[in-house]
């Protein structure tokens, strides 16, 4: 039965559907795994064994499967609301808060018979690239416990790499699905902005946030993408169009033929600051794509060099406003309400206590960037840069079908290494940010291990808005080819956990 945790979501779903194994057994195997090893990984903030087993039982009792993923367990990032579990967004200020409503993603998962195991750890309010900003302590990378699992969705990526769950949900504002995917050797997809409902996703930066699938294979990610994607009238920025045929595209890609596909290598994402092993892994991946029949060209996107600065103005600005609601009046933490303090003082004291340093830093930065005297120089300019980045993407996609780059410039760094240096931390999102700013779809798929440190590296694939299926075709083709060449899936090289602290 321990084998169950090593199976892909597609395999598990098939076994459950054929009644070779019950959904309850599958859920239990993963709950056992979590009980055994999560103290070392700390991927979860909350595990709902009872709820998971009840959901699994419902799948077993159903006459027909609710979806192709019915009975498959999943780890949900703690930034999506759930009525049966606390939702903290990794913040002290929301400790113990049980929302009175489900996020649309949560609802769709439940309706699909996906078994939600629990809520995963994350950087507070999704602000970070290492999960060290969680108020509840860091998550450890299953490849090396002294290293970060990426962020902000480090709990989700670690739960996959530690075989605690075959599927997870992440949210990606500047790379928080893809970068954790890259550093844990897993697959992460940021769908086209508007492709997955944000209703019930605790906002960090509304114009950038996008929930998406995390998995150990491209096909699994596609299956999950189809469950959570689609139009939602509760989200005004939701696109009223069918979900791109991502599962079909993944299956097509798995046939191993990329003839006629034009791949652009982003010239700007190379050179200084890129770890040599990452660069070599990326170059090998590009060779692999060529070998699959793809036509590879170099593409220049000059405005991408301004993406990071623009992002660090837009995201903090929006967050300074989005996080204003955490004011101790209606929900969440309240301190110093002893009759001597006014509402305003209680607000300030609670926010001071309830937010961690990174959150405060970004609120201050955003407050500054939106201030009347600075708006044009900072927020206004950042929005112009956003236009330039979209134009670069548009021009590039005239010439190529997808763009590729390393997902992140380095492999997983050590826990604690960058906490006191915000700018160094921010560099982790260098390559992922342009797609958030322009809203197009992007994926990270494992490209092997960096030869100098033996840690996972991710290949980023970017596609135009609403062409998410291209990611899956190219990603699946590459994944199969790489696995074949390497003699198996990368994820099975994760060191055995349990004894090791």
């Amino acid at each position: 039965m321990t084998d169950l945790i090593k199976l892909t979501a597609a395999e598990l779903a098939e076994k459950v559907q054929k009644r070779e194994v019950s959904a309850v057994e599958v859920a239990q195997a993963h709950l056992d795994r979590i009980a055994k090893i999560d103290e070392h990984v700390h991927a979860f903030l909350h595990v709902d064994a009872e709820g998971a087993l009840a959901a699994a039982r419902a799948v077993d009792e159903a006459e027909t499967p609710a979806s192709p993923l019915a009975g498959v367990p999943l780890a949900l990032k703690d930034v999506l609301t759930t009525t049966d579990m606390p939702t903290t967004a990794g913040s002290r200020t929301l400790e113990g808060w049980v929302p009175p409503y489900d996020a649309t993603v949560t609802r769709k998962l439940r309706e699909a018979g996906v078994v939600i195991l629990g809520k995963t750890n994350m950087d507070e309010f999704a602000m970070g690239s290492s999960t060290e900003n969680s108020a509840y302590g860091p998550t450890h990378n299953p490849w090396d416990h002294s290293r970060i699992p990426g962020g902000s969705g480090g709990g989700s990526s670690a739960s996959l790499a530690a075989f605690e769950a075959p599927l997870a949900i992440g949210t990606d504002t500047g790379g928080s699905i893809r970068q954790p995917g890259a550093v844990t050797g897993t697959v992460g997809v940021k769908p086209t902005y508007g492709g997955v409902s944000r209703y019930g996703l605790i906002a960090f930066s509304s114009s950038l946030d996008q929930a998406g699938p995390c998995a150990r294979t491209v096909l699994d990610a596609a299956l999950l993408h189809e469950v959570i994607g689609g139009y939602d009238p509760m989200d005004s920025t939701s696109i009223n169009a069918p979900v791109p045929p991502v599962v079909a595209a993944a299956r097509e890609g798995m046939k191993g033929d990329l003839k006629g596909v034009r791949v652009g290598v982003v010239k700007e994402f190379a050179g200084d600051g890129y770890q040599a092993g990452v660069t070599r892994s990326f170059e090998a991946a590009v060779e692999q794509l060529r070998a699959l029949g793809a036509e590879v060209v170099e593409v220049s996107c000059p405005a991408f060099t301004l993406a990071l600065p623009a992002y660090y103005l837009i995201a903090p600005s929006e967050c300074s406003s989005n996080l204003a609601r955490f004011d101790a009046m209606r929900y969440g933490l309240r301190v110093s309400d002893d009759g001597t303090h006014s509402a305003e003082e209680v607000m300030s004291l609670t926010r001071e206590k309830g937010f961690g340093p990174e959150v405060k830093r970004r609120i201050m930065l955003g407050t500054y960037a939106l201030s009347s005297g600075y708006y044009d120089a900072y927020y206004g300019s950042a929005q112009k840069v956003r236009t330039l980045i979209s134009r670069d993407f548009d021009a590039a996609f005239e010439k190529v079908d997808v763009l590729v780059s390393p997902t992140t410039p380095t492999t997983a760094f050590k826990i604690g290494e960058r906490v006191d240096d915000p700018m160094a931390m921010y560099l982790a999102d260098l390559c992922t940010i342009p797609s958030n700013l322009s809203g197009n779809a992007a994926m990270s798929v494992p490209s092997g291990l960096s030869d100098e440190d033996g840690l996972p590296v991710g290949l980023q694939i970017m596609a135009p808005s609403l062409a998410d299926d291209r990611l899956y075709r190219v990603g699946a083709a590459y994944e199969v080819a790489r696995n074949d060449a390497a003699g198996g899936a990368l994820i099975h090289q994760v060191p055995e956990l349990g004894g090791k602290a």
Partner: protein, 501 residues
Amino acid sequence: MTAVAELMDYAEVVERFDPVLGLEVHVELSTNTKMFCGCENVFGGEPNTHTCPTCLGLPGSLPVVNGKAVESAIRIGLALNCEIAEWCRFARKNYFYPDMPKNFQTSQYDEPIAFNGYLDVTLDDGEIVRVEIERAHMEEDTGKSLHVGGATGRIHGAEHSLLDYNRAGVPLIEIVTKTIEGTGERAPEVARAYVSALRDLLKALDVSDVRMDQGSLRCDANVSLMAKGATEFGTRTETKNVNSLRSVERAVRYEMTRQAAILAGGGSIKQETRHFQEADGSTASGRTKETAEDYRYFPEPDLVPIAPSREWVEELRGTLPEMPAVRRKRIQQEWQLSDAELRDLLNLGAVDLIAATVDAGATPAEARAWWVATLAQEANTREVELDALPITPAQVAEIIALVNSGELTNKLAKQVATGVLDGEGSPREVVEKRGFKVVNDDSALLAAIDEALAAQPDIAGKIRDGKVAAAGAIVGSVMKATKGQADAKRVRELIIERVGS
């Protein structure tokens, strides 16, 4: 609490200064649902029973624009002769206040949906003043706070406050005038007439309850003074809480006399918010605005832009009712009223009621007589506005018809009206319940007449001598004998017949 302000005699104020006004009116729309969520838009209700994640500002919630509110905004804009934006956005106005769930108000900033209009306002003497409209924009209302522990339930001295968010998110249209100059001594009257005209307009559009007493129409008055001959505006104050038409006039007048006294004494006006005190018609100092508020406006990322097509705008223009001013002109002609008569009807708030009564079958003269005399008196004794009387124009028309058909005498008709007002039912029901029935049986009347003539033998002689007026005494006796249920006209005819025969 506050020291009594020194005031300048009004005649002197207008001799030495020119007042400059700016009026901001907030109108709550009477849509079925709130601005950004499906909660019911109703006044009052058990606290916090018309709330949802969105209007409570719960983490993860998102707004979706009420299309009907946009439609109302455009119709208001058109009725105010505004241009309608081809493209506009919502913006976030960031400031912390416990009655505002998100700590930002979703409003419009530099891109209002309607702008550059005017409203022609008729003063008491028939003079027409054109008030220029700067903009009309959409936003949302706040919740309501209840202050506990203070002496008067007021905010000052309160120990704590209680919040009800039923009103939070109710659609508001904010209508802002350009500066109104050159009105001289008539400034207070212009302010009042403007709000009154706006109220009539909004009522005709059927977009709001426009109940100033319930806060569905609220006015803030900006007032400043310029010394005669000066070229620059003076410092202005903004008076809030002006909750009736009369108060608008009083508030402006008070501010003029207060500011003039300060300026004449060599002082300067503080730019501040002031509160109107209903009790004595004064204004009291509120918060001083040392520095301009920094609301850090930015485009609302959770809502997409609004681009009303010209076809839609024209379609909505087609739905505009006859404008109140035009209608008044027409009514004046049709009812053959002098200016003074029309003004009296307007002051009484009787025009719409009379028109509706006419629509229900009465003649203008009959309808006017009822509303201006009988019912206006009733409203006076009951201390309510005329339109708040619990009788409908259709019911008034019904009573008039009963009189015309001879089923009721005028005297009985008044009693029927009282019965309706007292909640005894429809006019017919009151007639039946009270057993009102005009005595139409001539033989019964003749018996009473004979009895009365026998009691006053000299009267018959007088009548025979041509002094017909003497019959009045006999009519009176007969009416008394029949308890008023006789048709006085018929009684008079019968008396003359009887005496003459």
